[in-house]
Amino acid sequence: MDESPQAMTAASIQTYRDALFEAMEQALIRHDHTVIIGQGVTDHKGIFGTTIGLGERFGPRRVIETPLMEEGSLGICLGAALNGLYPINTHIRADFAFLAMNQMINLAAKYRYMFGGLFEVPMLVRLVIGRSWGQGAQHSQSPQSMFAHTPGLVVVMPSTPEAIRETYAYAIAHHRGPVISLEHRLMYELAFRSDPAPQSPSASQSGTPPFTSRLERRGRDVTIVATSIMVLEAKRAAERLAPHDIECEIIDLHCPSHPDRDLILDSVARTGKLLIADTSWLAYGVAAEVCRIVAGTAPHVLTAPVAMLGMQPAPCPTAKSLEDMFYPNLRDLMQAIVRLVTGGDNPAIDLPDERSMADFYKTFRGPF
C-alpha cells in the first residue's frame, strides 16, 4: 500500500485485483489441467474483475460457470482433482463457503490422510471477505480460523500482490493438497509497489516457502502479528509512530494454518511485547492461536499482557455507525500500540480521528 500513488511509475505498481487476474490467467496459460469453477466466473463482473474475459479466451471447458451449488461446486472440484485436473474454486463471499463446509472439512481436508496417502486433491479455493459498506452479518465474515482449525488444509491470507503471485503460483504448480485463500475485498482496488522497498526485510525473503509467515518490518519495541488488511493497518500505524520513537516489528501471519512459530517467538523474545491484529473475532481464532504459540513455548519473554484487535463479539451489524464500532480503526490500533509500548496513553502522540478503516481504503461506492 502506498499513500502517494502519484509518486509511482506505472510499471512499478499493481493492484491486488490485477495480481489476482494475473494469477488466474497464468494458471490457465501455464497448466493445461487447470480449470476455474465457480458461480460468476464467466459473467461480466468476473469475480470482482479477476476472471473477466478468461471464459472467452480459454473456453467453457477451462472456465466453468456453476449453478448455485456451493457444496456441489467444491465436491465437483474434489472429484476433478482426483481425476487429473487442478481446480480453482471461487466463492464471491467467504460466508457462502459455509454451505461447502462438508466438502471442505469432511472430505477435502481428509482425503489424503483418511485413505493413507492413496489420493491427493490439489486445488485452490478462493474466498472473498466482503467487509464494509453495509455488508452485514452474512456478507462480511472472515473464517480463517475455522478452516485453519482442521488439519489437512492450507489457509492463506495474501496481503499484497506479491504474496498473491508467489503463493498462487506455488500452490498451483507444486502443492498437492487443498489450499484455501481468503482475499480481502477492501484491498482489491489498492495499488501496491510491485517491488518492495530496499529496507523491507521481505525483499530478502523471496525463496522462502509461501505457506508460512513473513517479516514485513523490523522494530525493537513491539511485535505486531497481523493478517490480511490488518497488515496494511499495522504498517500505517508503524509509520505514524516511528517519528515518536516507537518502532514496530510487523509479521504478516500470511498462512494461519502454518504460522512461522520461530519467526514469531524470535521477534517477541526481542521486543517483549505482542499485539495481534486479525480480521475476525478474537475468541478461538488467530489471536488465540498466536497466544498459544507464545504461551505454550516461551511465556516468560512477554513483559506485558498481549494486546489484541479484531471484530467485536457480535454478528456484523449493517448500520454504518455500528459497523464503525464493530471493526477496529487506525486510532484503536495506534492507541493499543502506544499503551502496550509505553504503559499508558501519550498525549504527545497525535492519534488520528479516523473513525473507519474502510473509509480510508474504500475507493468505491456500493454495491460492492
Binding site: 449453478p67 456441489g72 465436491g75 465437483i76 482426483l82 481425476n83 472430505l107 483418511m114 496417502g117 492413496l118
Partner: protein, 314 residues
C-alpha cells in the same frame, strides 16, 4: 467390458463367485466382530451384493467408481485386494490405507475404486467432478457413483444431478434402493419417486426390481455404460435391493420393530447366494481358504506406529 462375448456359464460363475466372496467375507466379519479385532463400524452389504457385482462387471479398468460407507461389496467387486481389506478392517499397517480408513473408507485407486465417504451423499459430486475431468481431458472414462435411497434426500445429490445433466457428463448414478435410511422407511422420508425425479433433470433413468439378479444388473449396466461412452451423457439406474442386517453392525434387528422379518424371508427365497446350492458348494472351499489367508495376513500385519500418525496430513 470385453470385445469377446464370454461363455455365459463362465460369466455366471465369475459373477456368482464375486458375489459369494462378498457374502462370505461379511459373514467372516460377523464371526470375528465379537472378538473386537475389527474396531471399525461395519455397514454390511449382505443382501445387496448383486448390485455391486453387476454394476462393476462392465466397467473398464480406468473407469472410476465412488462408493459409500457400505462399501465392502464395491471394493471387492472392483477387484480390491482381499488381504489389504482385512488388514484395513483390523487397523493394521498392511491395510490398503495403512489402517487409517477402516471399514467405512475402503479405496483401491489401482482398480478405479476412488474412495468411500461416511457422510451420506458426499461422494456423489466427486463422481460428477471426475466426469468433468474425463470430459476436459478426453479420457472416455465412465464414472460411477453408488449411493442409497437416503442419499437422494440430500441437497448435494440434487446439485450433482443438475450439474451432470446440464453439462452432459459421463456419469452413471446407481441408486441402491434398500428402502431404508438407518431405520426409516421410504414412505416416512420421500414425497417423490427417485426415478421420476432423475428424469425431471433430463437423465434417462430405469429401475430394476430383481436386485438379487447380478446377471440382469450387469446386462442393464453394460447397456447404460455403452450408451454413456457413446454420447458422454449421464444415466440413472435404480436397483431395488435388500439390507438384511442392521444399519451398522453385524446383527439382524428385526426385533427392533421398524421392519418385518417376512421381507427377509421373501428375499432369501430368491437369493442365489442361498438358493444356488451347487455353486455354493463348489466355490465355498476355495473362497474360504482365500478369506483364511486374508485374515491371517491381517493378524500378522504390524500396527501402524507413531511415524504414521502424522504422515499424509497436508
Amino acid at each position: 467390458m470385453t470385445d469377446v462375448t464370454p461363455d455365459p456359464k463362465d460369466r455366471h460363475d465369475r459373477l456368482f463367485r464375486t458375489a459369494l466372496l462378498i457374502r462370505l467375507v461379511e459373514e467372516r466379519i460377523i464371526d470375528l466382530y465379537p472378538s473386537d479385532c475389527i474396531q471399525s463400524p461395519v455397514h454390511l452389504s449382505i443382501g445387496q451384493e448383486a448390485v455391486a457385482v453387476g454394476v462393476c462387471e462392465p466397467l473398464q479398468r480406468n473407469d472410476l467408481l465412488f462408493g459409500t460407507y457400505r462399501g465392502h461389496a464395491y471394493y471387492l467387486a472392483r477387484g480390491g485386494d482381499l488381504n489389504a481389506m482385512f488388514a484395513e478392517l483390523f487397523g493394521k499397517i498392511g491395510g490398503v490405507s495403512k489402517g487409517k480408513a477402516g471399514s467405512m473408507h475402503l479405496a483401491a485407486p489401482a482398480v478405479g475404486m476412488m474412495g468411500s465417504s461416511a457422510v451420506v451423499a458426499s461422494a456423489i459430486p466427486h463422481a460428477v467432478g471426475a466426469a468433468l475431468a474425463a470430459r476436459v481431458r478426453n479420457t472416455n472414462q465412465v464414472i460411477v457413483t453408488a449411493f442409497g435411497d437416503g442419499a437422494t434426500e440430500e441437497g448435494v445429490y440434487h446439485e450433482s444431478l443438475n450439474f451432470a445433466a446440464l453439462h452432459g457428463l459421463p456419469v452413471l448414478f446407481v441408486c441402491e434402493n434398500n428402502g431404508l435410511a438407518v431405520h426409516a422407511s421410504l414412505a416416512e422420508r420421500q414425497a417423490y419417486r427417485m426415478i421420476d425425479q432423475a428424469r425431471l433433470y433430463g437423465i434417462p433413468a430405469e429401475t430394476l426390481t430383481d436386485g438379487w439378479d447380478f446377471l440382469a444388473i450387469a446386462d442393464a449396466t453394460d447397456a447404460l455404460v455403452r450408451e454413456i461412452r457413446r454420447d458422454g451423457r449421464p444415466r440413472y439406474l435404480e436397483v431395488a435391493t435388500y439390507r438384511s442386517r442392521e444399519h451398522v453392525g453385524p446383527a439382524e434387528d428385526f426385533g427392533a420393530g421398524y421392519r418385518r422379518r417376512i421381507g427377509l424371508e421373501d428375499w432369501q427365497d430368491r437369493d442365489p447366494l442361498i438358493q444356488d446350492t451347487d455353486r455354493i458348494a463348489r466355490l465355498t472351499p476355495e473362497i474360504t481358504a482365500e478369506i483364511d489367508r486374508a485374515e491371517a495376513f491381517a493378524r500378522a500385519s504390524p500396527w501402524p506406529e507413531h511415524e504414521d500418525l502424522l504422515s499424509d496430513v497436508v
